[in-house]
Symmetry: C2
Subunit: 338 residues, 2 copies
């Protein structure tokens, strides 16, 4: 009996007294803010002067907690970052939980605490939410869907169609750490690794970049599909080719080693705190300096550039001067990574 009382049961999702208590006793107090407290059907936000950015992400990561983060931190950062890379200032998130029967209430509490802490770090509030409970099945425990509203920064013109040949690509630090950390946790890899997910809100870093006044043409966070997927999209959207210098791509020794053990190309592995910024070459140094001055950009680097081509693709130039085409990952190297 005490065991049942420690866990989520179906009745927590029924919309009755147990739902009310779960929200009132365990969830709302942890997320408390002026928007959420009235528990109305919608949050009401004061009008925003600028254009509104709106985005959503569903998170199905396994395990729910992993080195460097958890599904709650991931859900806040993923949506905050999708807004920030558009040139918006994230304002308010929604939080929809689908909880599996049997989830430990203590696990839920930790994840909600993590959501609250990450929201504070990203300077957003959880304005509205929903909670459903489903029967016990594969042991997923919890999926989270966040949506977010941001206010578009005046003058921000993030648009792949503004990219020209000659523009350069900057990444803000070591790649592949999120995907590799989650895979290592899942596989219980035997070798000792202190690899942590890079999951972090990029709001502050992007603030610093936009405040340089540089003509930022495009930013995107390199999540599912990794840097390779992002670059393949850029080729599709611009009709230009991309050249990447392999030795310029930041990759920590532990990430390099872990990718080799798992047989993965780090370029195709998901990140949750890394973005690719495209700026005109003349502005690259200024943006790089701004990145390096921010805690999330210390390892920032110019990794390559866009070039004219009759048959546009992404090419990796090796230290020895060799070239290989980087493909968009076809399917699912890393299931359930975000």
């Amino acid at each position: 009996m005490s065991d049942t009382r420690d866990r989520i049961v179906l009745a927590h999702g029924g919309g009755g007294e147990m739902t009310r208590r779960l929200l009132a006793e365990r969830i709302i107090p942890r997320l408390a803010n002026d928007l959420l407290s009235p528990l109305a059907d919608s949050a009401v936000l004061a009008p925003l002067k600028g254009s509104i950015c709106f985005t959503t992400d569903a998170f199905v990561v396994q395990p729910l907690e992993f080195p460097g983060g958890d599904i709650g931190r991931l859900a806040v950062c993923g949506t905050v970052n999708d807004l920030a890379v558009m040139g918006a200032v994230p304002k308010v998130l929604s939080l929809a939980l689908v909880i599996e029967e049997g989830l430990l209430l203590s696990t839920l509490d930790r994840i909600i605490d993590s959501i609250a802490a990450t929201a504070r770090e990203a300077n957003v509030v959880i304005g509205t939410g929903d909670t459903k409970v489903v029967e016990r099945r594969g042991g997923d425990g919890l999926t989270i869907t966040t949506a977010g509203i941001g206010e578009l920064r005046e003058g921000a013109r993030i648009d792949a169609r503004r990219i020209s040949a000659g523009d350069v690509l900057i990444v803000n630090g070591g790649i592949a750490e999120h995907g590799l950390a989650v895979m290592s946790a899942r596989e219980g890899l035997a070798f000792d690794t202190d690899l942590c997910s890079d999951v972090a809100p990029l709001t502050g870093l992007l603030n610093a970049i936009f405040e340089t006044g540089a003509d930022v043409r495009f930013v995107r966070d390199a999540t599912r599909g990794g840097v390779a997927g992002l670059l393949a999209d850029l080729v599709d959207d611009t009709g230009l080719a991309i050249e990447i210098r392999e030795e310029a791509v930041p990759l920590s020794p532990v990430a390099h080693h872990t990718a080799e053990v798992l047989g993965l190309d780090p370029l195709t592995v998901a990140n949750e705190g890394k973005c690719v910024v495209v700026v005109p070459e003349r502005e690259a140094e200024r943006v790089l300096v701004a990145c390096k001055a921010h805690p999330l950009g210390r390892q920032a680097a110019i990794i390559g550039r866009l070039v004219e081509s009759d048959a546009p693709c992404v090419e990796l130039v090796t230290g020895a001067g060799g070239r290989r085409v980087v493909q968009r990952p076809y399917g699912e190297d890393l299931p359930r990574i975000c």
Copy 2:
């Protein structure tokens, strides 16, 4: 092999080429609109003059298709209605799909078509989305989370704290039909029933009500927890008691019969196209007339009123003058109903 090609596989959710194709070939064209097409990380909306309403809902209904609707129609209506009952005009929705491996692509196509049709009916666009795929497990197939943005109507002041003793409660039609239709479909009930879910966008009906100029104090759609859950919340929020006349509560004969067979109190069963409107008594007739003139309000009725009480609760007054206390449903009479 042909069988596999008819179904969702894990690689559809990997963020690579198969994800791109699923979106570009099956999902985006069905939902096509100016916001969604650029496939950026966020949709960009022109500034709204009024305050912004923001809401979210997760949908885990089983079965995915049921008499009168499907999970897609439900997801659009649920979020549209949460905005509309706040006095907002719904503008744009986000759509996050978590698809289970093995879902028939033809089922997905039908549900996306239903989302598109319902969005048109509710005069909203699907502005942004996300798609994830999870391993085959309990046969859920699909969960959908929508979030929505609406613009608050000038002068709308929907707030339970404005409710006074003497105010009356109006419901726009027969209750319990959504929950009973889903349960009947799930149980494969042997008796012949033409009971259909009432799932519908309430935007038009609420427009008509607000346009009367009546001082609408409170509106809420009676979803999970049914009318009983909604009224229990109202008692908590106002400190007033509620008296409902049993004979005044609209209930179709087929819903009445089905509830008896299933042993359920119709007051506790979920609706997806019914709302409770609270107005001052002097305005009730005007609002009732506006309801009855709308296709979704033909059976509208005044079901009761708020009264002062030392021990506030919800009381049902029977035709014979008997009284019984209506409790908030405790847990889960009807799991997976929305």
